[in-house]
């Protein structure tokens, strides 16, 4: 195993980790503030992919399609929050989980009704489809764009949370919803906004990946597992933790593919279980 291929594998891992992070970000945000484990998160992600496909096919404008896909997904999220999720906040976690699970089931089938059963994807925009050649492996600029977007989203979230009024309000709700309410913060609005933002981020992530992967109805079922592993290992609700763990999982599993192709996925599960056995609150969990 020479050094170049090892490094390339790590680089690929960085890109995969960034994708995981974009997928996990909304999940963490929603869990952190709203305290709901959103099972339908990946379904929104895939919805973003489908919307991107549709708008890009019609407009051929990458940026515009991206924004529209993001906003519509967020709006769908907000609608779900207002009609369903809002009514389960006060219930036990398991009911919240099942409610979002129900949403995921409906979303999956709705995608099939709207976009059919076939495979859907778009091409990488011309300028970004070129790339650099590292030891026979082409890493295109679009992959680099994903890594940069992931990092920007991380920085933006941290800045937003710590240095803006809305962010501070959100953090207040994050810490103590009852007290925040007493201080006159409209927690209801914050919850809806956070749900909108979280699902819009899912939509953005989904939209960004259509040029890279292919999309079919029910793809979400396979994505959500990885997202959960990351969020749980990181410690539920930790934003920085989720970023670091997502990148680590990406890089680590990528390198595992290279050195122990026989075992990669089991090893990941075992490591996750070991981490949880010794640090049940996750690597970056607070409590």
């Amino acid at each position: 195993m020479d050094l170049t291929s090892f490094l390339v594998q790590a680089l690929i891992g960085l890109y995969k980790g960034s994708l995981y992070w974009i997928l996990a970000l909304g999940l963490v945000l929603i869990f952190g503030v709203v305290r709901v484990i959103n099972f339908a998160h990946a379904a929104f992600y895939v919805t973003g992919s489908y919307l991107m496909y549709t708008f890009y096919t019609y407009t051929s404008n990458f940026i515009v399609s991206l924004i529209i896909a993001m906003i519509i997904t967020g709006a769908l999220g907000a609608i779900v929050e207002i009609t369903i999720i809002r009514r389960v906040y006060k219930l036990e976690t398991i009911y919240q989980l099942l409610a979002t699970f129900g949403v995921a089931l409906i979303a999956n089938e709705a995608q099939k009704l709207i976009w059919g059963k076939g495979v859907v994807y778009i091409s990488i925009p011309e300028t970004l489809s070129r790339g650099v050649n590292l030891g026979g492996i082409t890493i295109n600029y679009y992959m680099a764009l994903i890594v940069v977007t992931g990092l920007l989203l991380f920085i933006a979230t941290i800045v937003f949370m710590n240095y803006t009024i809305t962010g501070l309000r959100t953090r207040a709700v994050w810490r103590d919803p009852v007290m925040s309410e007493a201080l006159g913060i409209n927690t209801r609005l914050i919850y809806t906004l956070v749900f909108f933002t979280g699902t819009a981020l899912a939509g953005l992530g989904g939209a960004l990946t259509v040029p890279l992967i292919s999309v079919g109805p029910g793809l979400a079922d396979y994505l959500i597992v990885t997202a959960f592993i990351i969020v749980v290992i990181a410690g539920l609700g930790s934003i920085t933790g989720a970023y670091i763990v997502a990148i680590l999982v990406g890089v680590f599993s990528s390198i595992l593919v290279l050195i122990v192709p026989e075992l990669d996925i089991v090893i990941l599960y075992i490591i996750a279980a070991l981490i949880l056995l010794f640090r049940p609150h996750g690597l970056f969990g607070e409590r």
């Binding site: 369903i84 009514r87 009911y95 129900g102 999956n108 599960y269 279980a273």
Partner: protein
Amino acid sequence: MYMLRRLRALIDGNIIALLLLIGLLGLISFTGHRFYMYIATLIMIFGIFAMGYNILFGYAGLLSFGHGLFFGVGAYSVALFTLNVYRDPLVGVLFSIPIALLTSIIVGILTLKHGRVYFAILTLALSMIFWSALIKLRWLTGGSDGLVGIPKRGVLVDLSAPTVFYYFTLVFFAAIMLGLYMLNKSRYGLLLRALGTNEDRLPFLGYSTFTLRMIALTISGVVSALAGALYAVFYSVVTPDVAYWTFGAEPLVMSLIGGSSYFLGPLVGAIIFVSLTTTVARFAEYWMLLLGAALIAMILFFRGGLLGFLESLAGRFKLGVYLRWRF
């Protein structure tokens, strides 16, 4: 006189309902209608699974996402035992009990020390490891295709006639249900309910919550594994899907549908779940959509499950409440 009092203390709405159900299940075999018998067998197997699950969930208050593991352990024990050691389904099913016992204790040691949220996550992680192992250990488990040819006709018993297998399942079902009923009435039943209600207080009464949780997990694990064992013999085939977490979440949904705080809740839930999925699956492609909608409707409107709904009706009409196990 004392015996009579003991006996009277044992009789309540639950046991009457249970005996009626067992009788009804017995009657179905006389119709000779194979599909009804098939559905009834599924109800019994999933009824056992859900009731076993609810020992942990409804009684001890521990949410497990990894019960596919126990179901899978039961199913694979029967398969491996009958195919490699001794070709008999009855011995195979009984063999799964000690294996399940051992598994439960190991799982318990690994998961019960931490809080409830982490129990849920850890059981999920363990069941996923088990699932991957079933796929990876191909020489032993047949990989993703699983193990085929689990015999219904064995050295000791021959269950190949549908009616015979039906009675075989019914005997296990009745024995397990009555056993759980006695457990519910016994001191352990009381302790497990106390555990689910206020586990932090029990140490100050001199009870080790770890031990109590371990007892609950062991009973739950063994009962779930028995369901898996029967399932494997029933289908003659076992594949890793039974250990996947979504399969393990089914008894949870059943418990909630029926009402997890009622003794018979999971069983009622199993009846509804099996019938419902059978019915909606006829709408061919959109059954998942309907399932999702049904789930949301249940959570928004019938949170106590069907039994909870009935109880609130009974309360409204001032009818006595017979089903609630807490009484």
